[in-house]
Amino acid sequence: MMSDSSIDRMVLQKFATTSGRGWLSSLENPKYLQHLLLVPVLIFFIVWNVIPLFWLAGMGFYKYVLVTGEPLKFVGLHNFIEIFNSFEIWHALSNTFLFVIIGAGTQTILGIILGFIFWDSKGLPGRRIALTLIFTPMIMAPLASGSFFRIIYDPIFGILNYFIKSIFGVTIDFLGSSSWAFPSVLIVDTWMWTPFMMLMTLAALGSVPKAELEAAEVENLSWYQRLINVVLPHGKFILMLGILLRTIDSFKSMDIIFTMTRGGPGNATELIGITLYRQAFNAFTMGQASALAIISLLIAIAFTSIYLHVLKKKESFA
């Protein structure tokens, strides 16, 4: 935190050459400026968020199938009732929730462990490189990672099965067996996003004031005590942030699973993102897809509210 006087000094230095007021003077009035600055963002927001949202909300009450050439037909709550009655969609939703909970959960636990392991690693030779290696899974295009894991998992040509066969003598059809497909897909997701949770943990640890950490060392607190009494109170917010972010992103999952299994075998790995995609762009049943989209949006908003609630808590905490 800079002292007031040093701030003043800095400002005056920068203002050695003051800018003229000129035609921009009308912008000086905060009353107008505050809104003016928002205009670009608002335009984007209205065109790409609000209008589509209303469109979506409306379309959910219509039947509109692009490929039949028939015009829109108002069907009231029909689409929503269909969704409610659809075994397929409930199945996809339950798969999705399972995926999110197990996935985000595993990634969090593993990420925290890794974060702690790496916390003291300032002296590691080639540290930058090592960290880059860990973070790379996060930045790979999901489409690409999914494609590549298909090769790795392949029962005949894949390298994983090669090792498994040499050691155990069996081949596992990771992506084709109804019992293995879901875990296999989860593993890839975990591979991709555990580094993220690790990053979050490091951030959480980073937010703990050094003084307190040192004090804990001096007092010789146990590892566990340090966690509960020093780290968690400060880092709680960031960790929660990470978990929520991961949960919400995980809910949307589509690319990576779609590439690997198309939601199969059968519908073992069908997630709601995939169902939505299929309805909209395989079947072109826009009406139904919109209804499903609205429902997903409502679920997403529920999550976001929790998220913001946590954020607000941080504000009061800070």
Binding site: I7, D8, K14, S19, R21, L24, S25, L27, P30, L38, P40, F45, W48, N49, I51, L53, W55, L56, M59, G123, L124, I129, L131, L133, F135, T136, P137, M140, A141, P142, L143, A144, S147, F148, F157, W191, L199, M200, A203, G206, I238, L241, L245, K252, M254, D255, G273, Y277, Q279, A280, F281, S290, L292, A293, S296, L297, A300, I301, F303, L308
Partner: protein, 281 residues
């Protein structure tokens, strides 16, 4: 004393080895992919895998021969850079307003910006697709860039607001008191101080746009195809699954991003935590 030191050093070395082992473990599928990109197709699917082989750059050369690849690459670069730049600039202005003036509706807008990001992709595509078809924007560069910009705004606003909040308001006050204009304050005073935030926002979003596939596939047209779209199309372009193509394209396409996270590691952290943690990890 000697012994204890040696013990300590041993422990340290083991610790470092453990760290490296973990890093390599995570990176191993990618190593496999890079190796595959240097092999021929038959070599890739041969088992046991040939650990010693003559690497070839043929695949990479072939990549550029494929029709559309160069165009796709150009599109990727052009659209990512433009979209994210627009987003960051626009977000910065808005973030300043949110931070300093807190206009009515700030919280609501911030909330809504974020929640749209949380809807499954296909849900967002449907209305945009219909909107773009009706307005003729489907398949145009402008349409795609603006869409990607919108995509990048929520995160940018949140990060930048966090950073601007961290710049004391005293700067503004002193400057105003000394006859500075708002524009001057925004661009000459505040902006330089939130540079880490700008970079973080930029990097974070460019990762998303660079890898983005679905929107471009549905809403983009012939002219605006990016590399991920090319990947999806070339998946089985030659009568069997093109493992070599996939490996090569993926490796090549990931290189810029890997370079980014190597050099800008600390900004990744900033980005992921919405600016709440500003220092080095």
């Amino acid at each position: 004393m000697e012994d204890r030191n040696r013990n300590k050093n041993l422990k340290r070395s083991l610790y470092y080895i453990l760290l490296w082992a973990i890093s390599l473990l995570f990176f191993s599928p990618i190593i496999w992919m890079i190796i595959c990109s240097l092999k021929t197709r038959t070599q890739i699917i041969t088992l046991p895998p040939e650990w010693l082989f003559v690497p070839t750059l043929k695949n990479y050369i072939a990549l550029f021969d494929m029709f559309n690849f160069t165009k796709e690459l150009m599109n990727s670069i052009f659209m990512s850079l433009s979209a994210v730049t627009i987003a960051v600039v626009v977000s910065f202005l808005a973030a300043y307003s949110f931070s300093r003036f807190k206009p009515k509706g700030t919280d609501l807008i911030m909330f809504m910006l974020l929640s749209m990001r949380m809807v499954p992709a296909a849900a967002v595509i449907v209305p945009i697709y219909l909107l773009y078809s009706a307005s003729g924007w489907k398949g145009t560069h402008l349409g795609m860039i603006l869409f990607y910009a919108m995509f990048s705004i929520p995160f940018s606003v949140w990060i930048l607001k966090g950073f601007i909040d961290g710049v004391s308001e005293r700067f503004d006050e002193t400057a105003l008191a000394n006859g500075g204009s708002r524009m001057h304050i925004i661009f000459k005073l505040v902006m330089p101080q939130v540079k880490p935030g700008l970079i973080a926002a930029f990097i974070f979003n460019i990762i998303f746009v660079w890898n983005e596939f679905l929107f471009n596939y549905i809403i983009g047209g012939k002219k605006t195809a990016t590399v991920p779209v090319g990947l999806a199309q070339g998946f089985s372009a030659g009568m069997s699954i093109q493992w070599d193509f996939i490996a090569t394209l993926t490796t090549f396409y990931s290189i810029p991003l890997i370079i980014f996270i190597f050099f800008f590691q600390k900004y990744l952290l900033v980005g992921m935590t919405f600016g709440t943690v500003k220092g080095e990890v």
